[in-house]
């Protein structure tokens, strides 16, 4: 119990700094994911999307608003301002207590989950992970399944039909997909023999990414036959994990909890203003958490070939650390764009199809996949 009595100011201050840094990045990423979603969906449907709102530099005395790239990059700021200024309306028939805590629960679960994600190598000797726990993925699964309470309470306390249907759907969807989500990544832990996300990344830095073996930090090379053999179960688990992540984050094609065309707005039908924005924020933050987990487990985290990974000689530690953060979030952003592409490409699954997929296919495939991996590992170690 010594650590409770001594105050380690360095630890406290660096943790605070990392928390603020990560939260800042994630919230910015959330708002620009919303922008990307609107823009990409528009472009896919032959529309333009939000392309007007620039940064209002005219307020500072310039001639024109600053509106780079495709335009509309000021839209997230305008959206946030709008949501804060909107009337926060609480219907008279809701269960006030649960109605008020539900949005907070929804987003808190996701943000707590971010704590164990290693989002970079290290800066000046400080590892870029807020809590370097040895049960990273378990922690995330445990916390993110608490996120369903936000949705369930929202649907139940709103005391109206559509939110209730949405929350019930969410519950059963969550149960059927958490199973395959948890089981699908067990092969990774079998192969690497660790549950610590930082160690998982360091393994991939040394031995190549899980999904693309051969991409090591030092020098990409052609993967060995052993790696090819192990790649098969990893690929299966990647597919299952990604699809389950779509279901877990309530994204199309599994967005049954909020199916706009069936349930008005789903579980957040009765919410307005900032409470609705919190759900929205939570949903996108969950997407980011999911993508971050996929990046950490399958795509090598912050490692990239030919670029310093924090330990390379000749590069100052701070710059290398910042590059690794950039690489990590670039991978996350690429996955987010993929999420968006999928959303605007596929139609929604029917409810029974979703259940069949979850219980009859993915659950079994994930289970069998574990045995395949174990078999391959036993074969490799017996040689």
């Amino acid at each position: 119990m010594d650590f409770l009595l001594q105050i380690d100011w360095f630890q406290i201050l660096t943790s605070l700094a990392k928390t603020v840094f990560l939260l800042g990045i994630v919230l910015t990423l959330v708002s620009y994911t919303v922008y990307a979603e609107r823009r990409v969906s528009a472009l896919m449907q032959d529309r333009y999307g939000p392309n007007r709102t620039g940064f209002p530099t005219t307020l500072l005395g310039t001639k024109k608003d600053f509106s780079p790239f495709l335009g509309g990059l000021g839209q997230p700021i305008a959206d946030a301002l709008k949501l804060m200024l909107k009337e926060d309306f609480t219907p008279s028939y809701v269960n006030k207590f649960y109605y008020w805590i539900a949005p907070g629960l929804g987003i808190a679960a996701v943000i707590v989950g971010l704590a164990v994600i290693p989002f970079g190598s290290s800066i000046a000797g400080v590892p870029l992970v807020i809590a370097n726990v040895d049960i990273g993925p378990l922690f995330i699964f445990a916390i993110s399944s608490l996120g369903v309470y936000g949705i369930v309470l929202a649907g139940w306390s709103a005391n109206s039909k559509y939110p209730f249907l949405g929350s019930i759907r969410s519950t059963s969807q969550m149960i059927s997909y958490e199973l395959s989500l948890g089981l699908s990544v067990i092969p990774i832990f079998l192969i690497l023999g660790t549950l610590n996300l930082t160690q998982i990344i360091q393994n991939q830095v040394a031995n190549g990414w899980m999904l693309i073996p051969g991409i090591t930090a030092a020098k990409p090379h052609f993967p060995s036959p052993d790696q090819f053999l192990l790649w098969i179960p990893i690929f299966i688990s990647f597919i299952i994990f990604t699809v389950a992540m779509f279901a877990e984050t309530n994204r199309l094609p599994f967005d049954l909890p909020e199916a706009e065309t069936e349930l008005v707005g789903g579980y957040h039908t009765e919410y307005s203003s900032m409470k609705f924005a919190l759900f929205f924020l939570g949903e996108y933050a969950a997407m980011i958490l999911g993508s971050a987990l996929i990046v950490v487990l399958f795509l090598g985290g912050w490692s990239i070939p030919f670029l310093p990974d924090g330990t390379a000689p000749g590069v100052p530690g701070i710059i290398a650390g910042l590059i690794s953060v950039g690489v990590f979030f670039a991978k996350v952003a690429a996955l987010l764009i993929f999420f968006i592409f999928i959303r605007w490409t596929l139609p929604r699954f029917r409810y029974d199809q979703l259940m069949t997929l979850g219980w009859i296919w993915f659950f079994e495939i994930a289970l069998v996949n574990i045995f395949i991996t174990a078999g391959i590992l036993a074969y490799l170690s017996s040689r």
Binding site: Q45, D46, R47, W344, T345
Partner: protein, 176 residues
């Protein structure tokens, strides 16, 4: 009698669904790329690009009062449009045409004619009911104002928007 819905026979690739996801992505990404390269032109960038030139002849824009070839407002203040107007947007105050006027036989004219464009629903009933073919829905659709009173079109504004329409009915001509 029971009718069995014919289900399509799915190939293996369609059954495992993932290849069809890729096929779908190919379509949507094709649209995305075409948009980025400026090859598609379906949506209009509204204030800069307008469809005004392509509006059909029967387009129902703002209701207006038209004048005939003699410069006379065709309206005879019969108040049928005021009566038929579903949202009651029209207010007419009839006036009498003095005896020395060339059109004295018309007897009445609208001293005031107001259409509240906040209330107007662009249904075109006024145009349909008008026995004089005096009120027409023209192609103006962007009716804006900064106050409620600005949104009420008075007679002068309505005549200005309506313009001249010739060769419709001639029952008030001198020779008749």
């Amino acid at each position: 009698m029971a009718y069995t819905v014919p289900r399509p026979k799915l190939t293996f690739a369609e059954k495992i669904y993932l290849p069809t996801v890729l096929a779908g992505l190919k379509i949507t990404l094709g649209h995305l790329v075409k948009m980025l390269r400026g090859k598609t032109h379906v949506a209009l960038q509204y204030p800069e690009e307008k469809w005004d030139a392509n509006l059909p002849a029967h387009y129902r824009g703002a209701p207006t009062l038209v004048s005939d070839e003699h410069g006379r407002t065709r309206c005879v203040a019969c108040q049928l449009c005021e009566f038929i107007c579903p949202p009651r947007a029209i207010r007419i105050k009839p006036g009498e045409i003095p005896a020395e006027n060339k059109f004295a036989k018309v007897e009445k004219f609208p001293a005031e004619f107001e259409i509240d464009m906040i209330r107007c629903i662009y249904c075109g009933m006024c145009e349909e009911v008008c026995p004089e073919q005096a009120i027409f829905l023209r192609k103006d659709y962007a009716i804006v104002g900064t106050s409620r009173s600005e949104m009420v079109h008075n007679k002068a504004k309505l005549i200005e928007l309506g313009g001249v329409m010739t060769g419709l009915v001639h029952k008030w001509n001198e020779k008749k």
